[in-house]
């Protein structure tokens, strides 16, 4: 496999120009994530309404191209979705990285599907799976109001 399959243009683009990298206005939930092995740090901000729709989501942090791209892609995909749908997307995303399974979520557009699939190359790099999943786990913690920092080594 060529290294470009991991570092696809879309990942490089999100890594260099991350979307929603700020503290979104009016956020009502937030959580921190940390990968102590490589020093990646992330802070996810969420605005969830009473009906549990993710009205807005953003992040701040530092990390490798994979972790920043994954965080950026996550915010793009999750924004505007119901929390339960978001949870399902996360589940399938993790399966994609761990088992190599395809995504099958009706509510994802072709474009969203393709964007998420760009991260599937990470599966072949077990040491990098944590980079790709850190933001997603942190999002769940934020949504569920967990106070503890997500730690990839715990």
């Amino acid at each position: 496999m060529d290294i470009k399959e991991l570092y696809q243009e879309i990942i490089l683009d999100h890594g260099k120009n991350p979307r929603n990298k700020n503290k979104c206005e009016g956020f009502n939930k937030n959580a921190k994530g940390h990968n102590p092995l490589c020093g990646d740090k992330i802070h996810v901000y969420l605005k969830i309404d009473k009906a549990k729709n993710v009205e807005d989501i953003s992040f701040e942090g530092e990390g490798c191209a994979i972790s920043i791209a994954s965080a950026s892609i996550m915010t793009q995909i999750i924004k505007g979705k119901e929390f339960n749908v978001a949870k399902k997307i996360l589940e399938q995303f993790l399966n994609m990285l761990k088992e190599g399974s395809k995504l099958s979520i009706n509510s994802l557009s072709d474009d969203e599907n393709m964007t998420m699939m760009s991260l599937s190359g990470v599966k072949r790099f077990p040491m990098r799976v944590k980079c790709a999943t850190l933001a997603w786990h942190t999002f769940i913690n934020a949504a569920e109001g967990q106070k503890e920092t997500v730690n990839t080594e715990k």
């Binding site: 991991l6 490089l12 020093g39 191209a65 790099f125 040491m127």
Partner: protein, 405 residues
């Protein structure tokens, strides 16, 4: 030095990594093992194994002899005054913990100061942190300058009449700075302050002589010296071992056990509780023989040549920033590439069979000081050649290409 011949003694280089020849540049993390070390462990288990020190049967005697012969070999290799000054631990981390715990227990009290540097590996900070917590002691950090070295004056100005220990690295595992350890020991002994040296990066790459250096404690990591994992060495001056309390309790480290009292033997027995990593210690004797055969002077001059070639070659790439510029530098080059995170560098290099380390290398204090969360590190050993540097340099260019930097 013919690195082709040296490499041929290490079976790992026969393997392909991602379809490529292995370019192993992660020696500061751990080194590869020559066939002689691997064979020695196998031979020991096949022909000589038994638990040591306890058994009267023939195998018990053979195994004990092989184990104790290794202690003598090490004693001579580092020129310790006596074999009792060599204690086997599971790694250098345990060696430092042993000192921090026992010395800290007996000699460090509330308000006392432990002097370390900003260059220290977590293994030479966290154990002292425990003492700080337990005893209410203070840890002072001698500042690292922009060259990635610690000036002896920075240590001098932090010494006070409260300083109870100076614990410093011999060679920084990030900047490669070789510390003026002899001068620091001389300075400390004037003031009667003991010195512990974290020799993890020193022992594999520099000539070390305990009697000449005069330090009180020196911690060694055997797996970084082409030896097995699970073996560390604590060198400690006998005067300390006579007065410090035991560390871990258990079988083998006792003299007499009664319901109301226990007495302990002398060092090294006092500090070697339980069944030790016998086969690995015996295997390590072959690592010492290997290093002696190549010759530490040859190793030093070879690694210097590789380092200088590496610095020159990597500096030519304008996107690369090399961390530190110490006057005396061991064979370590840590670097960053503009716009590419070290973990991405390590993954791209790995595709070319180039093994480096990415992260904070267990030196978060130093990375914070440098203002970066992580760095990439290439570190060289006995088997590395100029061709390895060329492969590294080409692979770094590939990073630039992948990331369009």
């Amino acid at each position: 030095m013919d690195t082709k011949v040296i490499k041929s003694k290490f079976p790992i280089f026969k393997n392909k990594i991602n379809g490529k020849q292995l370019t192993y540049l992660d020696n500061a993390n751990s080194s590869q093992k020559p066939q002689s070390v691997i064979d020695r462990i196998s031979k020991f288990y096949s022909n000589e194994f038994s638990n040591i020190g306890r058994s009267v049967h023939s195998l018990g005697v053979t195994a004990t002899n092989r184990f104790e012969e290794t202690r003598d070999l090490i004693k001579n290799f580092i020129n310790a005054k006596s074999r009792e000054e060599i204690i086997f631990t599971k790694n250098a981390t345990e060696a430092i913990n042993l000192v921090a715990f026992t010395y800290g227990e007996k000699f460090i009290n509330k308000g006392d100061e432990i002097l370390i540097t900003e260059l220290e590996h977590h293994a030479n900070y966290v154990p002292w942190h425990f003492i700080r917590k337990r005893k209410g002691a203070i840890i002072k950090f001698a500042e690292c300058n922009e060259k990635g070295e610690v000036d002896i004056d920075k240590i001098k100005e932090l010494i006070s009449n409260k300083t109870k220990m100076i614990a410093i690295t011999h060679l920084s595992n990030v900047t490669g700075a070789i510390m003026p350890v002899k001068k620091i020991v001389d300075l400390a002994s004037e003031k009667k302050i003991p010195v512990l040296i974290d020799g993890c990066q020193g022992a594999p790459h520099l000539k070390i002589d305990m009697q000449e250096l005069g330090c009180d404690f020196y911690a060694i990591s055997c797996h970084k010296m082409y030896g097995p994992t699970g073996v560390g060495i604590l060198y400690a001056k006998k005067k300390w071992l006579d007065v410090l309390p035991p560390y871990q309790g258990g079988g083998g480290m006792i003299e007499d056990v009664k319901k109301n009292n226990i007495t302990f033997p002398r060092s090294p027995t006092k500090y070697e509780a339980g069944t030790l990593q016998t086969a690995e210690v015996v295997g390590f004797s072959e690592s010492i023989k290997f290093i002696k055969d190549v010759g530490i002077k040859n190793i030093m001059s070879h690694e210097k040549e590789i380092l200088e070639y590496g610095l020159e070659k990597i500096k030519k790439n304008n996107s690369v920033k090399i961390i530190g510029d110490p006057k005396n530098r061991g064979s370590i080059i840590s670097f960053t590439i503009k716009g590419i995170h070290p973990h991405d560098i390590a993954t791209i290099l790995d595709e070319d069979g180039v093994a480096i380390r990415a992260g904070h290398h267990c030196c978060q204090i130093l990375h914070e000081k440098l203002g970066i969360p992580a760095s990439a590190r290439a570190s060289f050993g006995i088997y590395n050649s100029k061709e390895d540097i060329d492969v590294l340099s080409d692979s770094i260019k590939k990073c630039n290409k992948v990331f369009n930097t």
